[in-house]
Amino acid sequence: MKTTFATLAVAAMIAVAAPASADLVVPNLSYRTGPFAAGGIPYADGFTDYFTLLNERDGGIGGEKVVVPECETAYNTEKGVECYEATKGQGALVYNPLSTGITYQLIPKVSADGISLYTPGYGRTSAANGKVFEWVFNYPANYWDGASVAVKHLLDENGGSLEGKTIALVYHNSAYGKEPIRTLTELSKKHGFKLTEIPVDSPGQEQKSQWLQIRREKPDYVLFWGWGVMNQVAVQEAGNIRFPMENMIGVWWSGSENDVTAAGAGANGYKSLAMHGTGMDYPVYADLKQYVQDAGKAAGAGDQVGSVLYSRGMYAAMVISEAIRKAQELAGTSAVNAAQVRDGFEALEITEERMAELGLPNFGQPFAASCEDHGGPGAGMIQQWDASAGKWNLITDFIAPDDEVLDALVLEDSAAYAAEAGLTERCN
């Protein structure tokens, strides 16, 4: 009898916790604990808050409420896979794990299970090739785009030539950190600069050797691919050796407030890539305040609003919600399934007008996906840290990447994956 009661109680709890069958389920594989929590928290808050806004202001998407079950990965790949397995049965429509390691593990799983994987600005770069990666989308930009945008910015600063210059790449010694090497190697051949690779082992709490090397070798520029504590220590050490901060450019994952505040005035002038706008001068923030924060429905402590990574989480949620809206339009029903949402991702077009309607004018680059193109235009901006004002300022418009170099690399890498996985190209 006790067992029966216990079973009933558990069943009742599951019934309460599980989303209603018609809800749109978008799991949030977040990390609010562990060494990378400082980056994971604002992103997760922005992601969840945007869906809360849609639920509270618009009644959901197309009349369907969005449910965002959160699962803690601690940025650990095994836990990330566990979270995926634990939530996919709830009717999950799309995953956005904010981890390149987890993304690599999930690509074959989502392909087998028929669920979309959305990895804006991270993950496997060659997933931009929709002919091979049917279920993965990484628009509006990926790592290789980022590397190319940084080099183009340096070209602009040097009158169009980097001949004879030295660029050091300081990177997280992991799959994530190694991503830009291939692109930068090709670009170094094209533009005649010397590339020096300087790896830093995770977590990157101690980087004295690497920055002494930079002090000795005096590269003209440092490109920086870090995450977590590696970012704060690198910015601090760069300031310590008096490296000109305006000559150091981080990827967009090394360009949040977290990364520069610990170094104080020493971080002034540090640059990073940006794939979206910065600051709170966007109408959507007024709605977030009214319907989410002031209503006491904010995710987490509610103290991350407007930060770079909060904005990025919000942006990812905006793109996902637009893909779901597109799926509803294509399927002619509001209660869309995972396969229909994939179609929505593939047919998604985000125009400047649409972003303005959403309260995010000029926030991101307009793009239109297609069967072949899951990667978007890949443009990025450069932002620079003003330590005295305590804020990032955008100092360029969107800069397009060097597709002439990147397209060939994407095709080569995706073809290798297709051969390895025994996939036949689609979209023919």
Partner: protein
């Protein structure tokens, strides 16, 4: 003038020595608890994190558990509205670490007297996870800037002196110089305390045998509170040094990984061993990265420290300064 490569190697060696001191600061906490109680304290790194979080919390007047309180009662509390001077916040945090030591003794260690070392080790694993969570809930998981007035950045004195002397200005971080001075004072004080004070001798007696120590009237509970308090204070010092460099965040707890090879090399029971071990590891890993690193792709420091420690272990299993324990059946 010396060739550039020699000058660079000298600079790397000096910085290795400084890094070694930073590792030793963490290793000291392990040694203290192991020496006094035979416990390998897995939670030492987390103690450093917890201490640094508490210090920043006090300094900035942050309300502990604010998020939990706000979520439960619908309030909007965040700070008390004060900012404390660094020294006051350090004193208050030291008090908290003593309180924590007392609680650990009352709630954990008291119940494990005379248990096998592995049981005590497992208890410290549990303690580490508990403190990690407690720190998060109390103070939040965001990165906090720690500023207690320690100087940072290149030492211009060293740079200009070496430039005048050798023709190449060495880089030494001012923070590392301060850490070295603090470490020397700490080690000297702890060695004197351990060797010459009544409590110090009692600590060593407890380490040898709990029952025997109890039978001669040593209060095991007092000794444990004392040693965990001292280890908590050492963790606070390590937390300040590392936290000043990178901001206070979860990763601080991972500095324990840097202390393990130091302990293996220096011995788990020797306070000077922690320093010497730290220096050897610091110099060894930096010189290896400088000379061999570029040939094999770099990022050698994390694993090389362990390889170096293992090499020493082959010849001295008890570490350089550890006690050779002979157990007869």
């Amino acid at each position: 003038m010396l060739p550039d490569q020699i000058l660079f190697a000298l600079e790397v060696t000096l910085n290795g020595l400084m890094a070694g001191v930073m590792y030793a600061l963490v290793a000291l906490g392990f040694v203290l608890i192991f020496k006094a109680s035979g416990i390998f304290n897995y939670a030492q790194g987390v103690l450093a994190l917890f201490a640094a979080l508490t210090l920043v919390g006090f300094q900035n007047g942050q309300i502990p558990f604010a998020h939990l309180i706000n979520a439960t009662f619908g309030t909007n509390l965040h700070t008390f509205g004060w900012t404390l001077p660094g020294i006051v916040a350090i004193a208050l945090t030291a008090g908290v670490m003593v309180g924590l030591a007392w609680l650990i003794e009352r709630l954990v260690l008291k119940h494990l007297v005379n248990q096998a070392p592995i049981i005590l080790f497992m208890a410290t694993i549990g303690l580490a996870y508990f403190l990690e969570g407690l720190g998060d809930v109390m103070w939040g998981a965001d990165i906090k800037t720690l500023d207690v007035g320690l100087p940072q950045g290149i030492s211009e004195t060293v740079e200009s002196a070496t430039a005048a002397l050798l023709g190449y200005g060495f880089f030494i971080d001012n923070l590392d110089i301060v850490a070295t001075i603090v470490a020397v004072i700490l080690v000297a004080s702890l060695t004197i305390f351990s060797q010459y004070s009544k409590q110090g001798r009692a600590l060593r007696a407890v380490a040898d045998d709990h029952q025997a120590a109890l039978s001669v009237g040593i209060s095991l509970r007092f000794i444990w509170v004392l040693v965990w308090s001292i280890a908590g204070f050492v963790a606070l010092v390590a937390g300040i040094m590392w936290g000043t460099k990178s901001g206070v965040q979860f990763s601080l707890s991972l500095i324990a990984l840097k202390a393990l090879p130091v302990l293996m090399l220096g011995g788990f029971t020797s306070i000077p061993g922690a320093i010497v071990g730290g220096l050897i590891i610091g110099v060894g890993e930096k010189l290896f990265e400088f000379t061999i690193g570029p040939m094999i792709g770099g990022a050698t420091e994390n694993w090389f420290a362990y390889v170096l420690a293992l090499l020493f272990l082959v010849f001295r299993p008890q570490g350089l300064f550890g006690e050779k324990i002979i157990e007869r059946v």
